[in-house]
């Protein structure tokens, strides 16, 4: 009697344990999981290699085969390998940048991965992964944009970071009078100018208008767009930006800030690491949300999201889906977004943000100070072709503000062709 009771308890426990195991692993994964990744910079590379190794060890029957491709080269190679030699998991970006592959049927619909808890945990980025009401991938990291400023220079000149447009401009005037440029920027590769457009447009006309514009629903010659450029022009006419910015990449524009020739930089959080390496202490460097321009519109932010997708030609989709669940789990999210790893924000709301001044501030901004919405970034929200034409227009406008009419006419012509 006693022994059979024991056996019964043991059996129940065994069943429960195997049920728990089944819940975690579902059917045991087998075969090979091929991952193509663009995480080629040193820190991201260590992260993806660590993830691949760990996932391999977690599943006995499964071999993880990781290929890391240079981040820039990846952008053109993905077109070839998605159709010719599809892996099981591939990196890409959220928003409109995934549209060509979704439309061509090259990414798998993975709405089933999102069912249940995941949708709640990843609520902040779900919209960016959704097209035609389905989800086509999962995010694994994102980061805030904002005004990174030299706190020591601001203090010397007796100014505080601005929360409104007038203070923003008067601060700038104070700095210019002291012989310091307000902002450094390098527009050689165009996209940095798009950051400024995103923010000024979202602050002038709001998130919904900005999205409508990048979706091709609004004419570029619209008066509201002109208002955005008029606001931008106020800064340009003041001489707020460093000279000759067309000759620099974003990295080449950093020394102006490090040397104190310019006091602030509108950038993504990835600029913090090189600024720290360049000798700025956390006391010298501050982060501030881009100020309000039109008080009637809600604040909205840029937060570009990097993603994992399953190509529709994947041979091991079960393992791939398990990998996506694993990557987005709260624990892994907390770990890979630490400052010594990716140094960015976790996408899972149950993860904890690293103990870092800028990550904490960015998390605060994105989670509670961005009621209008979260945009990806101009070249991810707009189709690639439109982004190229528009960013060239932004650069031209920054150098020759008087060409605005010509620029807007060109953009409008491109819009009519691209979105037809």
């Amino acid at each position: 009697m006693g022994s059979s009771f024991k056996a019964g308890v043991a059996l129940v426990a065994l069943v429960a344990a195997s049920a728990a195991a089944a819940e975690q692993h579902e059917p045991a994964l087998s075969g090979t999981l091929r991952i193509f990744s663009d995480m080629s910079n040193p820190a991201p590379r260590a992260v993806i290699e660590g993830l691949a190794r760990e996932f391999d060890q977690m599943h006995d029957g499964l071999t993880v085969d990781l290929t890391v491709i240079d981040r820039e080269a990846y952008k053109t190679q993905i077109r070839n390998f998605l159709s010719a030699n599809p892996p099981d998991v591939a990196n890409w970006y959220a928003g409109n940048r995934m549209a060509p592959y979704v439309d061509a049927g090259l990414f798998m619909d993975i709405s089933d991965v999102w069912e249940g808890d995941l949708s709640d945990q990843l609520a902040s980025t779900k919209a960016a992964m959704t097209m035609d009401g389905k989800q086509w991938g999962v995010p694994y990291t994102y980061y805030q944009w904002g005004v990174y400023y030299r706190a020591d220079i601001y203090e010397e000149n007796g100014i505080e970071p601005a929360d409104d447009w007038d203070t923003f401009k008067s601060n700038c005037q104070t700095l210019l009078d002291a012989g310091v440029k307000c902002f450094t920027i390098g527009t050689k590769f165009l996209w940095t100018a798009a950051g400024w457009f995103d923010y000024i447009n979202m602050r002038t006309n709001g998130y919904d208008f900005h999205m409508a514009l990048t979706n091709g629903e609004v004419e570029w010659t619209d008066d509201r767009v002109r208002q955005t450029f008029a606001n931008w022009r106020e800064l340009i006419d003041m001489g707020a930006y460093i000279d000759d910015h067309t000759a620099y990449s974003w990295q080449e524009a950093l020394p102006f800030m490090l040397n104190g020739d310019a006091a602030a930089y509108l950038m993504g959080n990835f600029a913090v690491a090189p600024m720290r390496e360049g000798g700025l202490t956390d006391a010298q460097l501050g982060y501030n949300q881009f100020p309000a321009i039109n008080p009637e519109v809600e604040l909205a932010e840029d937060a570009p999201t990097d993603t994992f997708h399953i190509p529709s030609g994947a041979t091991n989709p079960e393992a791939a889906k398990a990998f996506l669940r694993y990557v987005t789990s709260p624990e892994v999210q907390t770990r890979i977004n630490q400052p010594d790893a990716l140094g960015q924000l976790p996408v899972n709301s149950e993860s904890s943000v690293a103990d870092d001044k800028f990550l904490k501030a960015g998390f605060e901004t994105l989670s509670s100070n961005s009621p209008g919405g979260i945009a990806q970034f101009f070249d991810r929200d707009a189709p690639a072709e439109m982004a190229k034409v528009a960013m060239e227009g932004f650069q031209r406008f920054m150098v020759r503000p008087d060409d605005l009419d010509m620029v807007l006419d060109q953009l409008e012509k491109a819009r009519q062709r691209i979105y037809e």
Binding site: T76, A104, D244
Partner: protein, 306 residues
């Protein structure tokens, strides 16, 4: 015995024998012709075909007739690229007189002349990417050598690569550096073949300096000049790497040439309009065809003349 086998082998051997001379060159040419046809001729026709379609490289191409060409006609970026191509063609030719001048200057017997020659030839040996990077730093508005030197005489700073007015000239100058070295080496070899007796005869007739160069030396350098023209014009039309390295086509597309514009439209990060890119390629091909036809024609005429 022998009479029985002879006719057979004579027949076999005689076919080969009769056609040997005609067939052998074709046999040797066959691999070249095959690869030239598959990798050069065929893609030309494919490009023309693609240029009549709209295609993102992923889905199925959609025929659109002449729409790509009509769009090119109204595209300001296309005219900017075309204009820059013309500037490249004209200014790149400066490499020829510059190369000739340096070759004449170096064509003397002084101790260590070989070292000087190698130094002048050096820029042609290093990669275009390196040339581009070196000149990018040279032009840099903040720390570039150019602006430091301009500062000594109270000028500048000039943002060469960031200013639409200077950018194309700045890149061409970088391109001229290796191209001049190339022309120089062509002329140096040419000068070796100049007949000393003709020089002597010219000297007896009291020809000196410019007249000697113009009427005695230059005519003998004609083959070198011809080759220098060919390589320089082709080099100007396919200028791509320097633009890609130094400006990426910027600022706002003002330093693009047709080949770079084609790349941007069809193959770059924001591109993937294969049809439109192919249309640009076809236009570039037609321009090149004019020169190629002229070169082939003058080479053919020369062969006839011999």
């Amino acid at each position: 015995m022998t009479t029985a086998t002879l006719p057979q082998s004579r027949v076999r051997r005689s076919w080969w024998h009769r056609n040997q001379i005609a067939v052998t060159p074709w046999l040797f040419l066959a691999p070249g012709i095959l690869f030239f046809a598959v990798y050069v001729i065929l893609p030309i026709f494919q490009s023309v075909g693609i240029s009549f379609t709209q295609w993102d490289g992923l889905g199925a191409p959609e025929p659109v007739g002449l729409a790509n060409y009509r769009e090119l006609w109204d595209d300001p970026a296309f005219y900017t690229s075309l204009r820059n191509n013309v500037i490249w063609l004209l200014l790149y030719l400066l490499a020829i007189p510059a190369g000739l001048f340096i070759a004449l200057f170096l064509n003397q017997t002084v101790t260590g002349i070989r070292i000087y020659k190698s130094l002048f030839f050096f820029p042609f040996v290093i990669s275009q990417v390196v040339v581009g990077l070196v000149f990018t730093w040279f032009y840099d508005p903040a720390f570039g050598l150019l602006n430091i030197m301009l500062g000594w005489i109270g000028l500048g700073p000039i943002n060469v690569l960031g200013d639409p007015a200077y950018v194309t000239y700045g890149i061409i100058l970088a391109g001229l550096w290796p191209q001049t070295a190339y022309c120089m080496i062509l002329y140096l070899t040419g000068l070796n073949a100049v007949n000393p007796e003709l020089i002597e005869a010219g000297r007896l007739d009291n020809a000196k300096g410019w007249r000697m160069l113009r009427h005695v030396v230059l005519p003998q350098l004609r083959p070198a000049t011809f080759i220098a023209f060919v390589v320089t014009i082709i080099g100007a039309l396919r200028s791509f790497d320097l633009i890609s390295i130094m400006t990426n086509g910027g600022p706002f597309g003002e330093s693009r040439v047709l080949s770079f514009y084609m790349f941007e439209v069809a193959l770059s990060e924001y591109g993937f309009r294969m049809g439109y890119g192919a249309a640009i390629a076809v236009v570039l091909f037609l321009i090149m065809l004019c020169f190629i036809a002229y070169f082939l024609w003058s080479m053919w005429r020369e062969e006839q003349g011999r």
